[in-house]
Symmetry: C2
Subunit: 331 residues, 2 copies
């Protein structure tokens, strides 16, 4: 068994076979593919391969968040490539870091899969994870690989506040402005398109496959004085509901301030769906939404969409909006 | 749907039912059970409930490790209670932190389970996780809950080096002493007992169910000048193999220095197994094994078991020992 995991070239018996599945290389072979030629970032003091990673922080704090994604629940292999899944999983994890006003620094990847999974899928996943890490200026620093019946990913993102205060859900004040940065409704439109068996328009389908969270706008919002912030993972109204609840305030959105891009109107018309519903309730775009003191001068790409008042819940044009959002286990 | 997740007392229609499964309370109900009355530790600056947690570090570094555990692969519900699973999962995670010479600070828990899982199992798991966190002087700071076909846990442990240098796998030098701290072979004996359908002796069965890693001996070993260290998760020989490989050295163990407790000899005699095999190859006890400069005065509970020489691999009484250890996906 010695040196088996270094690959087929060290094991002559297997040279005649084409390696195609995880079982052919084993756990350590998979790990080797994850870590080979890994890009380092300056904050990675000790990367993968030891008992634990060591990551530098610019102050005496670290921001941490974890997410689990399971095949056919959080992604479908017939709708997304392995690279798409890697991009989206990392984006989802880093988005939580940005939502605290921090910047991403590191990613830990726990990965479970059946032994029959093609190695090319693993390679694609790793490529997607790494590319999204590069976009977020972070690095894969560690992980775990295990056998599982379905592809299971648990990603932990770490981030750095760089001396600034964290922006929580609980600081919104009556009188604040509500503003958003990033796409809304695009992933939901893509999901609707895929759900009806179509593959285009590619702009919305790709938005579902690879979100583009505005990672560095979270830190900027904190510097601008954001009083509360979150990322839109479950839908704008649902996620603002968490701010309303944690802050003990009411959030009033104005539909006329919502940007409903021509592309979403076009897809909405084709599918007979009001695209404003995607904008207000669609998740998975990972926009950032924050509250700011009233007179804050908001730079592009932040867009004002409403205001904070005394009370509770989220209203759109004065109308109470159902809480909505996806909840696991609910039948 | 508003306030549903606060529990049955706010929803009169359900008061007549007894809540027994996850589906009855939903994702947010499960989360509420995980975070309710959570013990805080001073390093938890922001705990569960926000987009991400914020954890204080005593220096500008954080140590991080992640592990995935899946029902019927890493644990069996008929062999271990939910509380046992919580204890062991957290112990396994924190053990990696100790193996770097750091002390545990925080735990992030990603949890997947079928909607039919009894809530009492979740409560037991949470109790076990919290109790083990208390033993490690750390806290649950965040997590994620999702639906899954089988119980799936992905735990990320964070730790603090407290100004000290991390102890990696790669620093062992020829001439060093090899020493161990913690139990060896106990969990393997317990696993063997359970595998043959027995439930006693309880000492070994409980060792399988709830390991007792010497969390704070990792930091102590670092202070004593340990040159390399790891935790024994896969078996002493297998894990020392990682040190031998990373350090480019040979590790010589002496069987006569191995502590084979009377209880293991007794169980070995009953099952017709040489208990030394459990001590050398059994995993899941999470002892710490480290190399130290030759003249290091090693305090209890560290026990010398061998030495480091030039070469490669691990030998027991001069005999090359098969690499061994469990590898996922290998048939």
């Amino acid at each position: 068994m010695l040196c088996w995991w270094l690959g087929p070239s060290t094991h002559p018996v297997r040279e005649e076979f084409v390696i195609t599945t995880i079982s052919d290389v084993g756990e350590f072979g998979v790990i080797a593919r994850v870590v080979a030629g890994l890009d380092a970032v300056p904050s990675t003091l000790i990367g993968p391969g030891d008992d634990a990673a060591v990551i530098a922080t610019s102050d005496n704090r670290v921001v941490a968040s974890t997410d689990m994604l399971i095949e056919n629940r959080h992604f479908r292999r017939d709708w997304s490539t392995a690279e798409d899944v890697g991009h989206k999983a990392a984006a989802r994890a880093f988005s939580d870091i940005a939502a605290m006003g921090a910047t991403p620094s590191a990613l830990l990847v726990a990965f479970g899969a059946p032994g029959t999974l093609e190695l090319s899928w693993v390679d694609g996943l790793v490529a997607g994870l790494r590319a999204e890490c590069a976009a977020a200026e972070a690095a894969v620093v560690g992980g775990d690989v295990t056998e599982a019946d379905v592809i299971t990913l648990a990603l932990t993102a770490l981030g750095d506040l760089d001396g600034a205060r964290p922006v929580t859900l609980g600081g919104a004040q009556a009188g604040d402005t509500v503003a958003v940065c990033g796409r809304l409704g695009w992933a939901a439109a893509g999901f609707a398109v895929l759900g009806r068996g179509f593959r285009s328009p590619v702009q919305v389908v790709n938005a579902h496959r690879r979100p583009e969270p505005p990672y560095f706008e979270g830190q900027r919002a904190a510097a601008l004085g954001a009083t509360a912030m979150t990322d839109v993972s479950d839908g704008l109204v649902a996620d603002l509901g968490h701010i309303a609840e944690a802050s003990g305030v009411r959030i009033d959105l104005r539909a006329e301030l919502m940007d409903v891009p021509a592309k979403l109107r076009e897809v909405g018309a084709a599918l007979n769906v009001d695209p404003l519903v995607w904008v207000l309730t669609g998740g998975d775009d990972y926009a950032l939404v924050a509250t700011f003191p009233k007179r804050t001068e908001l730079p592009d790409p932040w867009r004002t969409i409403g205001s904070v008042a005394g009370g509770e819940g989220v209203r759109v044009d004065g109308r109470r909006w159902p809480k909505g959002g996806h909840e696991h286990f609910r039948r």
